[in-house]
Amino acid sequence: MDVSEYRRQSQAEVAEADNRSDQSLDDAVRVLRDIKASRAKREAAARTVGLNIDQDPSKIDDLLDILADPNVPANQRTNILYLLRQISFRSAPFQAKRPEYLATLRGIVDDPDRTLRRRAVGTLAREKDEYVQRRLIDGLEGRDKALVPASKAIQLLGYDVHAEILPLMHRLVEDPPNKVARKEAIRLLAADPAAVDSLVEIVRDKREDPDVRRTAAIALQSIAPDVQLAELRRTALDAAEPAELRAMALTTLTQFDDQRTGSEMASRVQELGDESSSRQVKQATRAFVSKYSA
């Protein structure tokens, strides 16, 4: 069967299932539990449950049972998790189920299925959940198996400034498991006023990847805006810097620098812009000069 035929068939099944307007909430939950039900039927059942759950909030308990059941295929459980996340947004009765929902999610953070595990961990991390933060930190520290890749773990911990992972982030910047994780760790140093010197060092280090240097420069904005502006001025006026960094520096200075300093720099910026072959630099130069030469 080719793709378009499959799509046509699938859409027809969904339409047929939708047309069964008499499908009760009970039936829909039964379909969601049925591991033999077709995908189209399950999708239709999920819509029925999503739209009508307020009629019988006790059905949320059934959904939580399915989510926790290791005998149900992981992709079905993942879809149930998506459904529960939708319901958690739009259903007032869901509030009463919140404790059970969070406890169920904590119970599946070690699930062998990667997607389900990541979705559960991500949902809990957004709730600033103590248990999942602890598990993510233990994974990064090597005290426990990692629930998600290191870069993802750092991102998820970044949802909560009170997760207090700054010493760990400093260590990961020095000794990262991979490049992506290092960049994520640098990003989180934006919460640490004690990280100014480390970030400046990264911004200035021409051996660093320009993207990493840009991340460090952005992180400085939050904790030391004056230092950031000084570094950006230096970058903007250094013709040996990579074009993307110079363009980023000029764009940021166009937004945030003070009129006097910008005016003082304008003629030099114009000269360097004229010499540059980068379209990005030329464009950023025009914006800068236009603002500060006026």
Binding site: A96, R98, P99, V109, E130, E164, A191, A194
Partner: protein, 369 residues
């Protein structure tokens, strides 16, 4: 015990004291926020430790000196683990008393849409947990333990029962049993005495001493000043906060109420005779722009007499003088209490309002004095 003590050692001490309640004083020592045990730990670690310690008072008995910590958590806490622990600790009182009821009702308001399952069976908690409870379940159990002394809570509990979305099925059953057991309040029943911040003033050891001079500060406009240039000239209301505080009952509410204090001072025509200051616990992060935005967003009007301050040099001396109830993790505040001080015209502490919510009228009354 200090910052080098492992969490498992603290948990072992708690378990030991549960078996030997005569040593409960060792747990009491761990409750002040300033205790070195909490230095350098994450906020989560502080929640775990304080929660496990506090819950133990249900078994070992709740001494009078600990009540204020428990009431603080019930009134202002937002973390289900700590609120559940505080509610459990109430059942360690020698006998049920009506004056804790308003605090349990505050805790219901704080938790009713953010409740969570918690467990005290293991430390730290592991999931799935064999037996769990929730903050709301523990609060309702404590109200049931208080029994007829909780009659004044009946209208609030009936309103809670009428909210179809606030409670799980289990907690709802507990609430219905409680309501069935609670008698209707008699006409002769009075509202319980409302314990306030003014009633539990922490001992102020610096009576008679003026605020230290030479502390370098910067205000919301970036202006540098020394402590003696602002404090000790006229009476001053001083409070502490930090912009990254994630508990809406603490810093955000404190600053909002401070704006109301300022408004009342203006209304009374004395806003140039009384100063107000909010000082950040998190000076390195709370740069002038952040201070200004945080205050303005909460109704504060700045002037020479009304400023937000960050300490550039000398915070330790300031913290020692006010005996601030704050501690720090690796990067920011990991725990603090609510604290407001009225200083006299010589910069001496005339009144401290700590831990519980302070009342605007109480503060203004002390300023007028």
């Amino acid at each position: 015990m200090d910052h080098t003590t492992s969490e498992s050692e603290v948990a072992a001490l708690v378990d030991y004291v549960k078996r030997h309640p005569q040593h409960r004083g060792r747990l009491v020592e761990l409750l002040p926020e300033r205790h070195p045990l909490y230095r350098g730990r994450s906020s989560n670690a502080v929640v775990r430790l304080r929660g496990y310690v506090m819950a133990a008072f249900e078994q070992v008995g709740l001494p009078a000196t600990v009540r204020r910590y428990v009431l603080d958590e019930l009134q202002n806490g937002r973390h289900a683990y700590l609120v559940a622990a505080a509610a459990m600790a109430i059942r360690g009182l020698e006998e049920p008393t009506a004056d804790v009821v308003p605090f349990l009702l505050s805790a219901i308001q704080n938790m009713k849409y953010s409740d969570d399952k918690v467990t005290f069976d293991t430390f730290p908690a592991t999931w799935p947990a064999p037996s769990t409870t929730t903050a709301l379940a523990e609060i309702i159990e404590s109200l049931a333990w208080i029994g007829d002394h909780a009659q004044s809570a009946r209208p609030a509990l009936e309103a809670l029962a009428a909210d179809p979305y606030a409670l799980s099925a289990e907690t709802r059953m507990m609430l219905e049993s409680l309501l069935a057991a609670l008698h209707e309040p008699h006409a002769c029943c009075h509202e319980p005495h409302r314990v306030s911040a003014a009633d539990i003033q922490a001992p102020v050891h610096r009576v008679g001493e003026a605020i230290p001079s030479g502390i370098q500060m910067q205000d919301q406009d970036g202006r540098a000043l020394l402590s003696q240039e602002f404090f000790g000239v006229v009476p001053t209301v001083v409070t502490f906060f930090y912009t990254r505080c994630d508990n809406p009952n603490k810093c955000s509410l404190t600053v909002t109420k401070l704006a109301e204090v300022q408004r009342r001072l203006r209304q009374d025509g004395v806003s140039t005779h009384v100063c107000t200051a909010a000082i950040s616990y998190d000076s390195e992060y709370d740069l002038p722009l952040r201070l200004r935005a945080y205050g303005q967003n909460r109704g504060v009007q700045f002037s020479d007499e009304h400023r937000f301050l960050r300490v550039v040099c000398g915070f330790a001396r300031l913290s020692e003088f006010f005996e601030l109830g704050v501690n720090y993790g690796p990067g920011l505040v990991n725990r603090h209490r609510i604290e407001l001080f009225v200083l006299d015209h010589r910069g001496r502490i005339a009144k401290a309002f700590t831990r519980l919510q302070w009342d605007i009228d109480d503060v203004l009354a002390h300023v007028r004095r």
